[in-house]
């Protein structure tokens, strides 16, 4: 009987169309759900919470607007800006920023933290790559979920890409999609396209809040040469050198590279050139981003273990050691947090008259032993 029904073209067409509408509705709901940002709970150290549109009003009400958390000490001192999620696929930066917001307390000076710098990039994943949309961390209060995004601004928010992207301030040509890359568009333009307005707001924040030092947290695939490395503008080389010494003394291997002067639009270059802030960028190794990776799952994002990468390491194809322990998210986020601590130590050593003093930052070893759970707060219901 069903067969007879399907043999009739009009009836078959109606059935297929109903199926198509069901599939489109289910997929549409899934895509829309990705626009819901993960909850971030302001810890006791957060003194002010505002949106980035406070600095460039044209961002207000757009998907680019993103929360800014300010942790201010009672004693005056210097100000450090911590950027996570400039590339939303590089989730260790997001997690390190979340740990700072939910735990750190400032006694002297100020910390300004933007966990989801390119919030639009958290709202999609690249087609045909099989990326998970989110991952979950177990905490004593129950599971907390976090978004896995993509490197660029969502094309739903900024489209079309030019064939060739010309960095506006320097004329450096790049491939067209880099027009949606927040870390190729500094210093930005308050009246420009979506991504450039976001860049301009971050630069305006740095100027308006008199930020002294910026740390931009990234990740890269294990076959990339710039990994477990700090990249520092020449104005920040002294502080970054002291930070790498401090990290090495703690058994955390970290290299240092000067910011190339001809590579434009990146935070470590343009923030240093266009503001008075010391600009440093850090990279950790994320196996979920590389071309050698196996099944791309939330387990890979969180666990950081991949047999293909173990084999690639054995063949000498990688720039970091890769054993069966892999590079778990907790160790990558802990590395970023330890770098923040050491950058602050370096800054304080050079500027003893206006220090930044922070407590309650989860310790590197403590994070490796206990995981994220004890350091993530309960999300208020309702």
């Amino acid at each position: 009987m069903v067969w007879e029904y399907l043999k009739e073209p009009r009836k078959r067409g109606g059935l297929l169309l109903a199926m198509g509408l069901i599939i489109a509705t289910a997929a549409g709901v899934g895509f829309r759900r990705m626009h819901q940002p993960e909850p971030i709970v302001a810890g006791p150290g957060v003194t002010t919470e505002r949106m980035l549109s406070h600095y460039v009003s044209s961002l207000a009400g757009t998907p680019a607007d993103t929360p800014v958390f300010i942790l201010e000490g009672k004693q005056p001192g210097a100000t450090m800006l911590i950027l996570g999620g400039v590339h939303p696929q590089e989730v260790a930066g997001l997690m390190a920023a979340v740990l700072m917001v939910e735990n750190a307390e400032v006694q002297q000076g100020r910390l300004i933290v933007i966990p989801q710098s390119n919030r639009s990039g958290f709202t999609y994943t690249e087609p045909l790559e099989g990326f998970p949309h989110e991952f979950t961390i177990d905490t004593p209060h129950g599971p907390r979920w976090f978004r896995v995004g993509m490197r660029l601004t969502n094309p739903v928010h900024q489209w079309p890409d030019p064939d060739l992207y010309i960095h506006p301030q320097t004329g450096e040509p790049m491939v067209g999609w880099e027009a949606r890359n927040l870390n190729r568009a500094f210093p930005g333009d308050a009246n420009g396209r979506y991504t450039h307005r976001l860049n301009a707001a971050i630069i305006e924040l740095i100027r308006e809040e008199n930020v002294d030092m910026v740390f931009d947290m990234h990740e890269a695939y294990p076959e990339y040469p710039v990994i477990n490395m700090l990249v520092a503008h020449e104005n920040a080389f002294e502080v970054a050198t002291i930070a790498t010494w401090g990290l090495e003394a703690r058994g955390i291997a970290m290299d240092l590279q000067p910011s190339p002067k001809l590579l434009r639009g990146l935070s470590h270059r343009e923030v240093g050139d266009h503001t008075t802030a010391l600009a440093v960028l850090g990279e950790t190794a994320n196996a979920a981003m590389g071309r050698f990776r196996g099944r791309t799952s939330s387990e890979l994002v969180v666990g950081g273990r991949d047999r293909n990468y173990e084999r690639a390491a054995g063949l000498g194809r990688l720039f970091v050691p890769f054993t069966e322990e892999g590079h778990p998210l907790i160790s990558r986020a802990a590395r970023h947090l330890a770098t923040i601590e050491e950058l602050i130590n370096g800054f304080n050593e050079i500027n003893p008259e206006r220090q930044i003093i922070v407590s309650n930052v989860p310790e590197y070893e403590q994070l490796l032993q206990e995981g994220f759970g004890p350091f993530l707060r309960a999300v208020p219901q309702g």
Partner: protein, 53 residues
């Protein structure tokens, strides 16, 4: 910005037209393969027309 937005909306209107044509093909074509292929095209173009993908 206005040019970008105009292009985006032109794209969405074109996607809506394609999705509409696919509905017509699913309902009116007599070969089941053509109907299924039209359905496969319909889903992503409908999502693009709605601006969620």
């Amino acid at each position: 910005m206005i040019l970008d937005l105009s292009l985006l909306y032109v794209y969405r209107i074109l996607a809506l037209i394609v999705a509409g044509m696919m509905i017509w093909a699913v309902v009116r074509r007599t070969d089941w393969r053509e109907q299924v292929f039209a359905l496969i095209v319909f889903v992503p173009f409908m999502l693009r027309a709605l601006g969620v993908k």
